[in-house]
């Protein structure tokens, strides 16, 4: 999100789910949409079948949508900047860039053009492994199409060059004029139900709600006034990935974790366990005794979404209602009630009687939510921010009349290799991801009998040639080792992965793959490089 915020002034899906199907070309990269966003994948399939839409898939794995794709570019993991620069090189060379859009809406084109000059299709082929002919064809396809929609997810962001990757996609979209119009755009698909909302609400170390910097005096004043606070901290705080080292160094002494399971979800998890063991005081609020909650000094029982009212904001910025269907189970309480009770006990009055009342306060401090009310959501079936006032219909696509920051910034970016590449000791490249039957760390989906029947155990995808070399058969148990740790998992032999690459999911606490992953971070967004780390596989 940091990447998009830097070039467009706001980090969110620019367009809507509904318009994806209406694009002439859909380019998806780093999203296994069929597994992670099945309903969006169906829309893409429908569009391709209707015959009006061309689909380009850029992915190291033979994901399901490759079956529908007109082009499948199989890049080496971690070489995204190179192929995107390569597409831009050819688009500019063939004079297919959108000169009018660039002149009116962007700055920095000359420097970008200079940077991509050396990314000839042949050079790109040598770096990415994508045939130069395919780079040319896809560049011409995008360059000549009226509307291209770019979709990506964690396969793009979870690299040390994640921010560079995102900026590169934004560059490509801008020079082809695919921003600020219907059925175009740069569209990051968000993985979790309310990850967009958690960002919108300022559960981030650098911004208040609605992406207002904590360093901005106006935003500070707005929050102080509404919250009745005398002072608020105005120095950017620590990100999740910075917190673990800070705990180990003794800088962080007390921590409150609500509905997160970093022991399973964070990279280099033995490091995380060490930190949580060490921390002075830890409160975990969750619906289950998660791997993380086991480290807590106090565990508080929150509720599931079925037991509370409120709102979620989906990946297309649509604010929708969540309605309590049942009473809280046992002696659990909706999380908002627990939070406000702690504030009260620590001496700050917070006395909301309902989530709707909280939402109305959010509207007062958050310009992009100001026009959204529960009554309107109910009536209109969800509203997409920005919605600055009560008469505003919401915003299906962003940047229609201009970027928030004036002109869109084209950033010249050069290719840098991943932080850890396979070598003699760790010859295989591991990427991690999700599957459709489970969700994140599996605390919810693994407790659903149906879903666990469909996918009862973790699998390591291994290419047949590699399996042969390692003496592995389908269903064998194998040990996977990296410089940081080891796990055991069952082997699935498949050509979905390329030779020299293996893949597994992080849903299964019995094979916690994040013991292996690299906690090397993107320097800007602080995202760990989950998609590339070097491992060795041994038969057990």
């Amino acid at each position: 999100m940091a990447g998009l915020a830097a070039v467009f002034g706001s980090g969110a899906m620019t367009n809507s789910i509904e318009d994806i199907e209406k694009a002439d070309v859909i380019l998806i990269t780093g999203t296994n949409t069929t597994e992670n966003h099945p309903i969006i994948a169906q829309g893409i399939k429908r569009a391709v079948e209707r015959g009006n839409t061309r689909l380009v898939v850029v992915d190291p794995r033979r994901i399901d949508l490759v079956n529908q794709a007109n082009y499948w570019l199989r890049q080496r993991p971690g070489t995204d900047v190179a192929w995107i620069n390569g597409l831009m090189h050819w688009i500019i060379k063939k004079n297919l860039h959108d000169k009018e859009f660039i002149a009116q809406r962007c700055e920095g084109f000359e420097r970008l053009a200079q940077e991509v000059e050396k990314y000839t299709p042949e050079y790109c082929e040598s770096v990415t492994g994508i045939p130069s002919e395919d780079i040319k064809s896809v560049a011409e396809l995008i360059g000549s199409a009226e509307r291209t929609s770019f979709l990506y997810a964690m396969g793009i962001t979870q690299h040390v060059t994640g921010t560079d990757n995102v900026k590169s996609i934004a560059n490509l979209a801008m020079i082809t004029g695919n921003v600020g119009r219907y059925a175009t755009g740069v569209n990051p698909l968000r993985g979790q139900n309310n990850v967009q909302g958690a960002c919108d609400m300022g559960a981030l170390p650098n911004v208040f709600t609605g992406y207002q910097p904590v360093t901005d005096p106006d935003a500070q004043k707005r929050c102080r006034d509404v919250w009745g606070a005398e002072t608020l901290p105005d120095k950017t705080g620590m990100t999740l990935t910075q917190m673990t080292p800070a705990i180990l160094k003794g800088k962080i002494k007390g921590m409150y974790i609500m509905g997160e399971n970093p022991v399973i979800s964070d990279p280099n998890s033995s490091h995380v366990e060490e930190a949580l063991e060490k921390i002075g005081f830890l409160v975990v609020q969750d619906i289950f005794l998660t791997e993380t909650a086991r480290f807590a000094d106090v565990v508080l029982p929150g509720t599931t979404w079925a037991e509370k009212d409120g709102t979620f904001t989906n990946t297309e910025r649509r604010v929708q209602l969540v309605r309590a269907a049942i009473d809280p189970v046992g002696h659990s309480f909706p999380d908002w009630r627990i939070l406000q009770r702690i504030a009260q006990l620590m001496g700050t009055p917070m006395d909301f009687s309902s989530p709707e009342q909280i939402f109305n306060e959010i509207r007062r401090v958050t310009p992009i939510y100001a026009g959204i009310t529960y009554a309107r959501i109910e009536k209109e079936g969800g509203i997409q921010w920005p919605c600055p006032d009560i008469d505003h219909p919401g915003t299906p696509y962003l940047h229609k009349d201009g970027f928030k920051i004036g002109k869109g910034i084209l950033t010249p970016i050069s290719y840098k290799p991943p932080a850890e590449i396979p070598d003699k000791g760790y010859p295989l490249l591991l990427t991690t991801g999700r599957m459709q039957f489970h969700y994140h760390t599996g605390t919810m989906s693994r407790r659903c009998k149906s879903l666990n029947t469909l996918a009862p155990s973790p699998l390591l995808d291994v290419h047949p040639e590699d399996a042969k070399a390692l003496g592995l058969m389908e269903g064998d148990m194998a040990r996977v080792l990296s410089r940081r740790g080891e796990i055991e998992t069952r082997v699935h032999i498949t050509k979905t992965v390329n030779r020299g690459e293996v893949f597994t999911t992080f849903h299964f606490s019995e094979s916690p793959v994040n013991r292996l992953t690299n906690d090397a971070l993107d320097p800007v967004a602080q995202i760990p490089e989950y998609k590339v780390c070097a491992v060795r596989v041994e038969k057990i």
Binding site: H37, P38, I39, E146, Q158, Y182, L189, R190, Q192, N194, V195, Q196, G197, A198, A203, L204, P205, F208, T209, L232, P233, G237, L240, I252, G254, Y256, I257, M258, E260, S265, V283, I287, F288, L289, D297, V298, V299, P301, G302, A306, T313, T315, L321, I326, H331, S332, D335, W336, M346, I358, I362, Q436, S445, C448, K449, S450, L451, T453, I527, P528
Partner: protein, 377 residues
Amino acid sequence: MIYMSKAAKTEKNPNQSNGTEKEISLSIDDQDVIVSRGSTILDAARKKGIRIPTLCYHPALPPIGSCRLCVVEIEGIDRPATACNTEALEGMRVTTRSERLFNLRREVIKMILAHHPLNCSPCPINGECELQDLAYEYDISEMDSDEYRIQIEEFPWKPFSTPILDYHPRRCILCGRCVKICSDIRGLGAITMDGAGAKALIKPVMADDDAASLCISCGECMRVCPVNAIEERMGGIKGKPWETKKVQTTCTYCGVGCQLDLNVVNNRVVGVTTRDEAGVNKGRLCSKGRFGYTFIHSEDRLIRPLIRNEKGGLEETTWTQAMTHIAREFRRTKKEYGPDSLAGLSSARCTNEENYLFQRLIRQVFGTNNVDHCARL
């Protein structure tokens, strides 16, 4: 050659091109109706609020035309036509109600009921069943179907395309909705109708015996089945329709934000259904959305606060004790080491309101900006 012609560049936003489409007018039951060209007779009738009974028709699907319940008479044409897949034409005169049509429809339902058991009381959708409503409307009892009754052998249990759904061949009326939604809407074609006449079955499609099923267990077939022939195997007992409360909410899994109805009986969530027009998903769901609700009542749910005891284990405690302890410890840490010695991780699973209060708590009460969540993971 794959890339677009330059001509394509001039076309307008496809959503704005509606004004140019031609309209036609026809008469249905002596009422004039104006509809856009390409509409079916059924569309036209529904637009005017004229009800034509249907069974295989489903608004989320292209017309199937298998049940012949929607027959209507068109002036000048001898044979009755099926309204769901006959195009409405300019000047057409359509009759939807007549003795002949009533009798035809009654025979259709009688034939279906020759196959489908009429012991409705043990059926979970008793009271919310399209076929039951039609049997009532056309006054059909078990005896009326005797003339058609084929002694259908008790079907042995058949495996379905996924282990999480059960298929009941005797309930199945072979309307074809499930096959249609799987092939046309999901684009999978994982199930097919196999066999002839009343003895046909819905079966999984497999390329060969060793091949895995194409089914992805989304349960769309179950969603459109009008007679509950496809049922969730592991969801537990459902309630009767009249004791089931349906609460519309937003799915708790991925970022698409599908709209769904939690089905609640006696303060328990017993299932998930959808409304055809609701949300970005328009009634569709994936396996997680449709079947991933049973964790709500898992035995593992935390139901009381836990606190670490002197032996180092976690034991149950009261809310008052837990909360006082928390407030005291956070205050003490803040006082001793300063606000930046505290940190908070919020949750992408919680609501906006909760995330808002969480960051407010960390910023205003703890006094630090050390707040984040797992957006990056």
